[in-house]
Each structure stands twice: as C-alpha cells, then as structure tokens.
Symmetry: C2
C-alpha cells in the first residue's frame, strides 16, 4: 500500500514509489525530544543560498574558503537540525565532522551556560598543568573518568584530536626509551644530542600505522595518516612502517571466511614490518589504529583482528594505541568502539576528541614508571603545554554524559543504527548499480557509491532536499548523526535519500 506522509518540508515535488517506501513510517517524536528539535527539514533556497554565497565571498578575502559548504545560523539550529543563513533547515547526518554529541542547542547545555557559578570557567582559561581550578579533579572524575576504557584510570586532556595523538605518541616514545634504558637515567650523550635533534637523544623510533588511516594533520600525526593525498603532499615525514588494513567484504557475516583470510594477511604483514623496522634500527615503539577507519572510507575489521593486533603489539614490546577520536563517544552503540572487541585490556592508550568536546587520551598505569630520573613520564613538563585542554569543555562534557545516561542514548543509537543499516540494505537491493557495501555499527554507517562524481552529486542533491551528508574514502558516504538521532529521523532521511536515488535512475 502506498502511504501518504506529511512532506511539507520538501520544496521539491514529492514522488511516491510502490516498493520499499512504506516501511519508513515516522514514529511520533516524544515530548522531550520535540522540545529542542524541529519536525523536519524546511528548504527555502538551494544550498549555498545567496546569503551564504555573499558571506563566503567576504570570508574569501581573509582566508581559504575552498572547503566552506555554507554559513550557519547556530542560534536557530536545534537537535538534529542545522539551520543556514538563508533560512534552510537541514537534517544533519554529518554533525560538524562528527563532533556534535547531543545535537544543537541542547537545553541541558544552554542551562549550564546560565549558571553564574560557571562563568569564571569560561572567562579565565587556566594553564591546567600548573594552576588547575578547584573543581578540576571532580569535573574530570564526573566526566572523563566515568567513561574510562577498561583498565585505565589515568587521563590527560588536550585541546584537539591532533594534539591528543601527538602527545600519545610522545608518551609511547618516552615509555619505550625508558624500557630500553632499563629504567635508568639518560646518558650525557642522550642529553646533549637531543638538543640538536640527533640520536640517541632524539631516537630513531617509529610508530606503525595502517594504509587508509587518519590520525591528524600535525607532523607527527601526519606521518601515521594515509587516507588522502591532499593531507600529505609536500609535507616532510618520517620513514615509519605502514601496514595494509583489511579490505573486507560486506555484509561481514556473509564473508567470514574470506574476511578472516584477508585479516590474517594484514596481521602477518604487521609482524613482518615490526621485524623489518627493528632490523633497520627504527624499532616500533607503538602501533596506532582506528577501530573503524573513518576518513579513509569507513573500513571495518573484526574483533578477532584487533585482539590479534593487540597481542602482536604485546609480543613485540610495542605500545598499542587505539585512536577513538571519531569512533568514541557512543556513536557505535557503545561508548568506545573498542568495547565491541570484548577485551579486558584492549589498549595501552586510547585517544579522543570531537564528540568528547575536549581532546585527550587515557593511558594504562604501566606506561608510567616510578623512578627518580627524568626518563619517565612521572617527571613533570614532559607532556605539557600552556593550556592542556580547556575546563569549559569538561563542564559541557559532564553534562553531555548526564544526558546520554538519562536519555539512554546508547540504546537509541543501537536502535537507530539498526534501522539505518536495514534501510541502506534495502536501498542497496533496489539500486545495485549505485549503492554497495552498506556497513556500520550503531549509527556509524556508510555506503559506497558507484563513483566519486555520482557520490558528490547525490550529496548535493540530498542537501538541496534538506539532508546533510559527509563523504569519506574515494567514493563512500559516511553517516555521522548525533546521539539524539532517533528512528523517526532515520525514516525522514531514508525517504529523502530514496527520492534522490530515484531521480538519478
């Protein structure tokens, strides 16, 4: 039966189809949700509209605007809907590159701003490493420690994802060299050579990373990023080992044997590279990996793969760093994506940023040592910078975690994610020449498009119909809604997406 939905929010002429559509019946929004959400997209112009174009021109005199999509009216944005300066209201499945945890202008966060006790936290940004505010230990306990990964009780905040990974790498190098020195003091030669960038003070250590990975764009991080030419071209780098990341077939459960073989191949390569780099005199101090390669194209691997990788790291004395900058914060249906691996000691270091609002990393106690020499991480000022994060972000994070808990958002994500993936499978069946490799965990989903040009065309068409999507890899669309993205939002999205695909046919 063809159902007629209320579609007033689409400016385009609405079309009905006989197949597939009837499934996407919007469940009525609950009262709480409605309070800070709109009931659908509403488009006034194509995007970018005239006002966005004018502002882009204005900003173009000041900085590079080549990446600017459009300008936003953040005051009018609510929940899952981003409003632009031309009055277009769009369902946001990209959420500022996956960095808005509970939607726009969540009332809990607005309320926090009106509490006069919080004012000074915003106005006086401290040098956290030397002069922390009184409530800092409590705020860290309430926020970050309450979601500490298994086996980890120590956390260091940082300003952004790149800084988090840079400092996580530094921690691994310091830990590794300390181990090499047998927990003794650095030699005079260590001390004199390090000042002029030479070994042994600045040792020839390496971090093993994976092809397709993205760990940031500062020069240490960038040496482990291998997703797109545009990130890397013209920037000097380190000769560090790069292993292949499994290229799995989807749906995973239909290709278990083939995928296991592919993962074995990659794991063998990892061990070979570790041995090879040790022989080259550039030992692998740490392995860094994303639980799902995001920027590189939403590439998944099995819990088995990660368990084996963790064991390889341990076997070869390398630290194991899980980069949860994009996967962390609940979007896979668990707070950390690595929880899906079911391990008691999943990592030595877990870095985060984006949805956590503050950057930083957790680390295992073992990465510290209690010695009197400055070789160790207990020595002050080794991991340090002026701000070391921003306590105002910790305030927000504590409240975000309250909301996640109170509104059972991880369950919602699991439910929405299932509906989203089911819808993608169906559309993939319907448009096999356009869509393939639908995949995901929670709402952290993606689908491949036949080619880059069609992918970009779909994204622009969807935007003009009121849905914001992000790309990744060569020709994937990645879905990165906020944690408040409910099943009925899934259906609004699927309806529009289906409409776009139908027009392409």
């Amino acid at each position: 039966p063809v159902l007629h939905y209320k579609k007033c929010f689409l400016t385009c002429k609405y079309k009905y189809y006989n197949r597939g559509w009837c499934r996407y019946v919007s469940k009525a929004a609950t009262k709480t949700q409605m309070e800070f959400d709109y009931d659908g997209p509403s488009m006034k112009t194509s995007v970018p509209g005239p006002r966005s174009q004018e502002l882009t021109k204005q900003l173009g005199d000041i900085q590079n605007v080549g990446a600017v999509n459009f300008f936003c009216n953040y005051e009018e944005s609510r929940g899952n809907y981003l409003v632009d300066v031309d009055g277009n209201r769009m369902l946001d499945l990209y959420t500022q590159i996956s960095s808005i945890p509970i939607g726009y202008n969540h009332p809990a966060l607005l309320k926090l701003m009106t509490n006069p006790h919080n004012l000074s936290t915003f106005v006086n940004r401290p040098a956290l490493g030397i002069l922390p505010p009184e409530n800092f230990p409590d705020k860290i306990s309430e926020s970050l420690l309450s979601v500490a990964p298994s086996g980890m009780s120590r956390v260091q905040t940082m300003a952004c994802g790149s800084c988090s990974n840079e400092n996580a790498f530094k921690s691994m190098f310091i830990w590794y060299r300390n181990k090499e020195r047998g927990q003794t003091a650095p030699s005079d030669q260590d001390l004199s050579t390090c000042m002029v960038n030479q070994a042994p003070g600045c040792p020839d250590l390496s971090i093993l990373s994976f092809m397709g990975s993205f760990h940031g764009r500062t020069m240490g991080c960038l040496a482990t990023t291998h997703s797109k030419v545009i990130h890397k071209l013209d920037i000097p780098s380190f000769d560090w080992p790069i292993a292949p990341f499994p290229r799995l077939q989807y749906p995973l459960e239909e290709f278990t044997r083939e995928n296991a073989q592919e993962e074995s191949r990659c794991l063998e390569e990892v061990e070979d590279l570790i041995v090879k780099w040790r022989q080259k005199g550039k030992p692998v101090a740490g392995i860094v990996v994303e639980p799902i390669q995001a920027e590189g194209g939403d590439n998944h691997a099995s819990p088995d793969f990660f368990r084996s990788l963790r064991n390889i790291a341990r076997k070869h004395g390398s630290a194991f760093h899980v980069d949860e900058v994009q996967t962390g914060g609940g979007t896979t249906g668990k707070f950390w994506a690595h929880e899906h691996w079911g391990m008691d000691d999943p990592a030595d270091i877990v870095s985060f940023s984006k949805k956590l609002l503050t950057g930083g990393y957790f680390q295992r106690d073992e990465l510290h040592c209690v010695c009197l020499y400055m070789c160790c991480l207990f020595q002050p000022y080794r991991i340090f910078n002026t701000w070391m994060g921003d306590p105002s972000k910790n305030l927000f994070l504590a409240e975000v975690l309250n909301v996640i808990h109170r509104e059972n958002l991880l369950e919602e994500v699991t439910r929405s994610g299932k509906a989203l993936l089911k819808g993608l499978y169906e559309l993939q069946g319907q448009y096999p020449n356009i869509l393939s490799r639908a995949r995901g965990q929670g709402t952290f989903c993606a689908v491949d498009i036949c080619d880059d040009e069609t992918r970009n065309s779909i994204m622009l068409k969807a935007r003009d119909k009121g849905v914001i999507l992000g790309g990744c890899g060569d020709r994937s669309i990645r879905f990165r809604p906020a944690l408040v993205f409910k099943e009925y939002h899934v259906h609004i999205f699927l309806n529009i997406f289906s409409d776009v695909l139908a027009q392409l046919k």
Copy 2:
C-alpha cells in the same frame, strides 16, 4: 627619607631600608581599575596550602601532577590577583604562562557571557573550515584583522600555539614546493610517494631554527624547539639546521659594538647553514624565530639583527616566520614585538596564541597562489582540521581588543615596563651578587639570578609573600604580567621582591 607605606597586605613582618625603597611609592589606583582589582596580596598560608595539597594528591591518581603549583579559585580572582583554594591572594606576574591578557574576571568579559546572543557560540562549536557561523567574517575582522601585522590581510585560526606553528610550517612547505615545481601540478610520483611518507611527495625540506628557541611540543614544532632537554628527550626528530641565537650583553645600549659583532657572527652562521642544508638535499623552506626568545631565557636581539635575518630569508628563497605566541598581544608595549623592528614587510608568517586567546597565524598574500592545481594553498583541505579554532575565543578576543584600546593599555604597558626595568636595574645595583642582566621591552622583562637554586628559592619566597613569578632559561626569572599591570602594581612587586632579596643576603 624613609616613607611608611600601608603594607597591610603582607603577612610577613615588614622591614624598612634606607636606600632604594623610597622610590616605590604606590600611585593610587584609578576608580575603573579598582572595580575589578584587589588592593594588594593577602596571604593566609604558605603556598601550596593544605587544601591545594589535598587536591594535588587527589588529582595525582588521575594524571601527572609534578608541574602543579597550587589549585586556584578563579571565581574569586580579580584583575592582577590570583586567589588560591586556601584563600591566598597573590599578585600575578606570570598570568598562566603569559596567557591572560586583561587580568582575571574582567567585567567586559563577564558581561559578554551574560549576553544571550552569545550563548549558542559557546554551546555549538562548529567545524569552522566547512560550516562557519554567520558572524564569523565580522568577528574575524573586528578582532584579528584589526591587529593584523603590516602587510598581512589573511589569517587562519587554530586551537593552540603548537597547532598554529605546525600549520604555519605546513604552509611554508607547500609554498616552497609549489615554487620548486614552478606552479605546475604535482607529478604522479609526488602523489604516490606522499602516501607512504617518501620523497618527492613528502620532500626532504627543513625549517631553520635557533638554539634556545621554543616553538611548541608537537613533533614538527619540537624539531625547531631547543630550549630544554626535558622537552626533547626521547622524541624522534628531523635533521634540520639550528643556528646560534645571539647571546647579548645587557643593558643593550652599553654594549652596542660587542652585541653587533655577536649578531654578525650568528647571521653568518645562518647563511652557512642554509647553504649547507641545500647541499645536503634538505633545502630550508622557512626560518622560524621568536622576537624575544622566551622559554629559552628571555634572549633579545636588535632590530638590525631581525632586519638582516629577514633579508637573508628573502635572498635564499626561504619563508620568514615570526613566532609571536608569547611576545604578541601588547606585552612589549606594541601589539606585536616585531613592530619594534620598524619594517613594512617584517614577515611572511606571524603565528600567535596565548594572550590572543585563540591560536592562529597571519600570512602574506604571496604565500598563496592562484592556480588550478592542488599544489597550492588555495586548494581546500590542505590546511584544515575539525575545529580550526573556536569562535567563542574570537568573541572574547574582540572584547579584549576593545578594552586594550579603551583603556590605552599599550601605553600603560610601556609606562609600567619602564618602572619595572628601572626597579630591576636598581635592585641589580643593590644586589650585584644575586641579580644580573636585567632586560626587557614593555613589561616583557627578565633578570638573571646567580644560580638555579637561588632562583627557585627566590620564586618560592616571593610566592609566600604574595607574588607569582615564572622562571625561564637556566636561571632567569621572567615577568609576564597582564596588560592591566599598572605602575602601582610594579611598586607592590618591587617592594616584595626587594624584601625577599634582603632576606637572602
């Protein structure tokens, strides 16, 4: 004549001296200033007090607290006075490692927080590079562009000082390679090799830096930082050239001939290194330098030195990057320290953070090119990350600049700086065995102490009497008050400092 000052704010027993002291008569504070400032230090315990010690223990379970001085009550802090959790109120001449521009809880900044129009800027942190807020071009124009260095009309915000320098370096590398390629498209070999960290895609380019410099702690920045072992030990680095920075004699005007010779020596070395590194196949894409080396010990050089250095960079086709992260924001009496050089084209890149509240860098138009290839900086996503700064910091900065203008703070800084340096010269005359090499520009002053141990002892004693100081170099004390540090604050400081020195005798 011995004058009796009201000294109720000192808990220590007050002593009078026959010489020197009479100069430090406190000028009465103006009404505006008093509104958000205290009238002097007030000490209840030694520092850290019992509550700070308790909190340090608590935080020690979560992270490294080796660098923590004490815990702060930021709500009670005002103007130049930092209040700790034990109720001690201290005159702050270090201001969170030189990062508080107009004192604690400035009423103008508190007022900004109560404006409901600003709420959403704090609550919804955007991905500035793709989805900027409507008021972003205006806020950037009002704030950063209104203080753009000579010859610069383009600015890129970043989250912190390290990220700013990392991205400034990347801009120089991209610009340099683009020049090498003759503004043509990168080759297939460029594209394929960059993905695996190899030349020519990841070229063997270098940045020339100076011994004693500090440009940050992420791995690219760290390769140009050479101030302390503790920053560098155990972290892999790049083989980049490091030139000697002039070791001048102070007061500068008494040693012009000797200092000019020393500067010539260093400049010759710079040119030699550029040639040598070109021959090594690692051309110098850029030179990075601080107008005053801060962390490295407050080392000055003359305007002549910097003018020659800028010319050397131009002669050899290297970009010239002036790192104003610590010197920028008015503390030298001009908004940028490089303004003292009196040049129309002082730099190709000027980076900032700290007192500017947001990180970032200005650059000359010439660093951009208008070509169709992705070789150039106009291509989107080459200089990019998720947040690219934080618009809420731009809001604060715009207001800080208003206050600087309205309260003539650069003039105040010049006046206070003169009084501070005069006081230091006098004390240096009085205590020649303890103090030497008093130096400074504006309130960006320093003095050397006879040895490291005495330096640290002086700093602790001064703190217990209600003055917060910072160290730098091997045995220097650096003064980094806020821009609202007036002449009468100078006298309060000098009285206490003199008292500490008298007790050492």
